[in-house]
């Protein structure tokens, strides 16, 4: 059934909206869980949580299809879940287990699902942008007609790779949508101190492509904006730069005293919670009730608990695997 009261792209059915609501909770619970495990010292290494940023992942990926691709970042658990990622394999990877997405060799920063079109998280800030251009080039040269959503942070937009990639995609009219998740900070560097432009999307004009600023906590606006950019790309008109204003609720990574921002600012942003807003919108449109919303949320929680069990019961990789997969 089509959703009448909300102006949305055609493929976004009522069912899809409910799925998306649950998906947002999956993302949040997944990262909340990971946060607890790190705090308890149950997982080693580091991780970057996207709690608070669920909407930009879920909303953007909602409007692309199975054959389309994404390029993710170090803060990539949400992107992976939204691109139909297997949360069991994700959790197992964080536990360093053989059943994990990377057979325990990659960890949080390298989760990828190439078959499903997720070309991977990335430990190098700005490292994914050129890859997205290449993936879009394949689509064009082989006439595969897929588009690429390229996620990156506000901090990454100050890397040379950002500028080189957007320009290259622009001159070749490649089907890539550059999605800047502007969560206001790099590791600690405030976006206001690290660039002189008001909006990162303003940089689009330097490359002669459309740029758009979007409320990164508003699922409806996200879906419509990304959909428009995707259509533009599918029509062979090239890339768009979309900036989504959002906020990460947690620290940058495992250890962060958050001295570079205030607790008041955090509170203000938390009140704008993207999940809560989406729920209110769906209830207003009579797609959800408080009760059905709660059910979806609880289902998400259950699935994460299951993923934890799966991970805990999975075997460690064998020592022999150390030398495998260096070359194809």
């Amino acid at each position: 059934m089509m959703v009448k009261t909300l102006k949305l792209p055609e493929m976004i059915t009522e069912e899809k909206l409910k799925d998306l609501y649950k998906e947002m909770w999956l993302i949040r619970y997944f990262d909340e869980k990971v946060d607890q495990f790190f705090a308890k010292g149950m997982i080693h290494g580091t991780t970057h949580l996207c709690v608070g940023q669920e909407a930009s992942a879920a909303g953007s990926i909602a409007v692309i299809g199975r054959k389309d691709k994404i390029v993710s970042t170090h803060r990539g658990h949400g992107h992976c879940i939204s691109k139909e990622g297997d949360i069991n394999k994700m959790m197992a990877e964080l536990f360093g287990r053989e059943t994990g997405y990377c057979k325990g060799k990659g960890g949080s920063m390298h989760i990828a699902d190439v078959e499903k079109g997720n070309l991977g998280a990335n430990g190098i800030v700005g490292g994914g942008l050129p890859l997205a251009v290449g993936a879009a080039l394949t689509s064009k040269m082989k006439k595969e007609d897929y588009v690429v959503l390229c996620f990156f942070g506000d901090g990454a937009s100050n890397e040379g790779s950002f500028h080189e990639s957007v320009n290259l995609a622009a001159i070749w009219d490649l089907p890539v949508i550059f999605i800047c998740e502007n969560n206001q900070y790099g590791m600690s560097g405030p976006v206001k101190e690290m660039t002189r432009v008001e909006n990162i999307a303003d940089r689009a004009s330097s490359y002669g492509i459309p740029g758009k600023v979007v409320d990164g906590l508003d699922m409806i606006e996200i879906m419509n904006s990304v959909h428009e950019a995707v259509e533009h790309a599918r029509d062979g008109k090239g890339p768009t730069l979309i900036e989504m204003k959002t906020y990460r609720w947690k620290g940058h990574s495992k250890s962060d005293a958050k001295k570079y921002r205030t607790r008041e600012e955090e509170k203000e942003w938390r009140e704008k919670d993207g999940i809560k807003r989406f729920k209110e919108t769906l209830i207003e449109a009579s797609i959800l009730t408080e009760e059905t919303a709660k059910q979806l949320q609880d289902q998400a929680y259950e699935e994460i608990e299951e993923a934890v069990k799966f991970a805990e019961n999975s075997p460690e990789p064998s020592l022999d695997s150390l030398l495998e997969d260096v070359y194809a």
């Binding site: 080693h44 290494g45 580091t46 990877e93 360093g96 287990r97 990377c102 325990g104 060799k105 990659g106 960890g107 920063m109 390298h110 990335n122 430990g123 190098i124 800030v125 700005g126 490292g127 901090g155 990454a156 100050n158 890397e159 040379g160 790099g186 590791m187 600690s188 560097g189 101190e193 690290m194 660039t195 962060d256 001295k259 570079y260 460690e316 990789p317 020592l319 695997s321 150390l322 030398l323 260096v326």
Partner: protein, 329 residues
Amino acid sequence: MTTRQITYLEAVREAMSLEMRENNDVFILGEDIGVYGGAFGVTRGMIEEFGPERVRNTPISEAAIAGAAIGSALTGMRPILELQFSDFITIAMDQMVNQAAKTRYMFGGKGKVPMVLRTPAGSGTGAAAQHSQSLEAWMAHIPGLKVVQPSTAYDVKGLLKAAIDDDNPVIFYEHKLLYRTTDDVPEESYKIELGKADIKREGTDVTIVATAIMVHKALEAASELEKEGISVEVVDPRTIVPLDKETIINSVKKTGRLIVVHEAVQRGGFGGEIVSVVAESEAFDYLDAPIKRLGGKAVPIPYNPTLEKAAIPQVPDIIEAVRETVKNK
């Protein structure tokens, strides 16, 4: 000299702070080095003391900040660049290799680039393939760069002063797992000349030349082996460019046996250079056993902690290598 115990990390900070108090041309730039205190906390408190002009928080732009360090060095400043992880040198590489290293020579002996690029290297933190590498051999290959790899807090302080005082670009590798180790360190400023190895333990049966964290693993192995009656000498080159060939050669002449250990991938690693230096020297005639090299496996650093440890030499590997080397003693 009054000494006290401080950590390797504190020694880095202290050496920088002492120089910055002395010389207004010395400043530091890097990502998140302000109130955050740097990814590992090395610069914590420095922006409060020196202010944002001299502790410059930069955007995430490794090519530009490396180049800015070089350009400012060329024109009279003495910058210290903190590169958040040594893996990101790839992005700063053009500036370091094609600019910093070559400027003076290309210009026919004019201009100089007195800068230090400090950066944490090595595995052991579970940060996986893109945050755990040991790429010092790349830098050592480039004429015009100097390369320092301190293993103790004492060495850090003296070598960092020497690096800051040096009129050339110096790559200063800090090992992440050594940051929390402590040592007796004098309060005053002092300098350890670049190119002077340190014999960290004297011995007579076999020489182990080890760098960075492997110095500690070699020392641990040496204590174990002592119980078996094997006397191990541990030589820490401290700087691989310039390299103190003499100390290494003399040690091998004394012991007649050589093992080289580093964390970096063995293939193409700096160990090959050290071995060649010995093989080409008069110490060759003193060798009583084949030389051995221990280095990282030819794989990216994996995430799983067991695999991660297995990717690089560990104490039992060193013990095993020594036993084999001395077996026909």
